[in-house]
Amino acid sequence: MNYSRWTPFLFLAPALAGLAVFRFAPIVVAGAGSFSGMTLTGALEFAGLENYRWLLTDPAFWDSLRITLIFNLIINPLQLALAFLLAMLIFQPGRGIWVYRTLLVLPMAVSTGLSAVLFKLVLDPNLGPLNGILEWAGIGAQPFYRAAEQAMGTLIGIATWKGAGYWMLFLLAGLHAIPASVQEAAMIDGATPWQRFRLVTLPLMRRPMAFVLVADTAINFLFFAPVYILTGGGPNGATSVLMFEAYRSAFTFSDIGRALAISSFLLAILAVIIVLEFRLMRSPEDRR
């Protein structure tokens, strides 16, 4: 087709400029800034590896890293398992299933910040209805996000409330991608429902499940809003995940160098995750 060499770039220019400035330049800024001493007033000086040296000797960072890892080790498998259960429950057609499906995905349209606010109300220690119900049931009111030992679990619960339905959609698409005739062939071959699940469905769901696990991990490494709204990293640092730690470095302690060093660290983890994602996206024929 006929077009000048520049035509494609005229069409691309605004979007590519936007991505370059607002997606890729910040990565460079994070990297460069992490080698600088920079305060919120903007004074900038080269500091070499100082920020990292500080970071690596700072117990608060290690605590935060530990908390972030524990959080991810729990929440990602949990959300995957729950999303898979939901997908299996929704998959078969049935009367009224669309109502359940809509209800289950509804939280994805509730903004993250608002869902944290919602649960702050629901879980309120004095006035929240959930504690009222627990009291009524004889279990007794729980402190939830106000106690160090329950705060992390509460955040995981809230994030799962919002996320499970969302990830279900991807697994549902995966289930629909398994040809019905393959399941029928397994029935004819004599497989029981359980054998069909274990020997056909599960292996064929590996890719969608791996995708969900990886993409969910990318998001949960950056978990922020509920921490900010509900716990402020507390009680006693129990929920101080890395993203919140970075935020606090910048805005509470005005240590932008440390904030950018943590950001760079998170970006490096993300880079690994994104490479994994690209591998998953290649078609199965490429792999075998």
Partner: protein, 348 residues
Amino acid sequence: MSTMSVRSLTKSFGRTEILRGIDLDVAAGEFVALVGPSGCGKSTLLRLIAGLEGASGGRIEIGGRDVTRLPPKGRDVAMVFQNYALYPHLTVGANMGFSLKLRGTPKRKIDAMVREAAAVLGLDALLERYPGQLSGGQRQRVATGRAIVRNPALFLFDEPLSNLDAKLRVEMRTQIKALHQRLQVTTIYVTHDQIEAMTMADRVVVMRAGRIEQQGAPLELYDRPANAFVAGFLGSPSMNFLEGRIEGGAVALADGTRLPAPGGAAEGRRVLWGMRPEDIEIGGEGMPAQVEVVEPTGPDTQLAVRIGGQAATVLLRRRAVLHPGEQIRLSPAAERIHLFDAETGSRL
């Protein structure tokens, strides 16, 4: 090897009746083809026999055993699907051995049985491959191999060749027929391709709108179709039908053209005069016709003509020099004339 029989079998989805009372008996070792236009219920009938759908009424027996309410697992059938339905995550060998593994057959025995079946179908070299790496024809053979490996009571084929190109289809047709002659397993084969049905089956069952229209040996159906539908469905190019009225022992078309007719039909009755394209010759004192299109195919010449204003096809088993617009005379083979009732379509 078992018999299979179906008694007054019905199937509806909601208000739609797919099968309206099917009776069918298949002898042990017989190869039966179910044919019909799409939507006639042939695939549904096969799926009911397999146990992939539940019957709305009636009874299914395999080897004399009532299996109507059994799941597929309890019916001892094997099925080849239109899209092959191979397990994408398993090798060819594992695909073929899957049913044996589910039954807890020892691994060494599975290997031996898979190898034997693979040898029959020439799949030896492919056992370690994955379905994604195979061509369409190879996948088809693997699907067939998966069916034969466990020696089932009944083979079911659901349009197994319709995803292959024409050349491969003819090849596989021969291979499946040879396989049946060798293994002698009772086979029910669904196809919309009447040539496949005619060439492969011991018996052809023609279905339409959830009913069996006619069943019998292929040539029996071809030579004595029970109604105009069967007559038109079998054969390519399909039978010519000219509509007219019985007048003085002949069929008179609307414009007065008279066609020869066998005796016996009531005077004045409206009929379809049927004649296969290859049973007509040019010349003699036959009926006048006008040539519209001439299509030489090499050995044959196919003509589109008009007889008394109605379209018809003539297939000459030779080369013929004819031109559009030419007036010719056609002589049908008198003993090959079929007469059908114009309203009901049934044979007179």
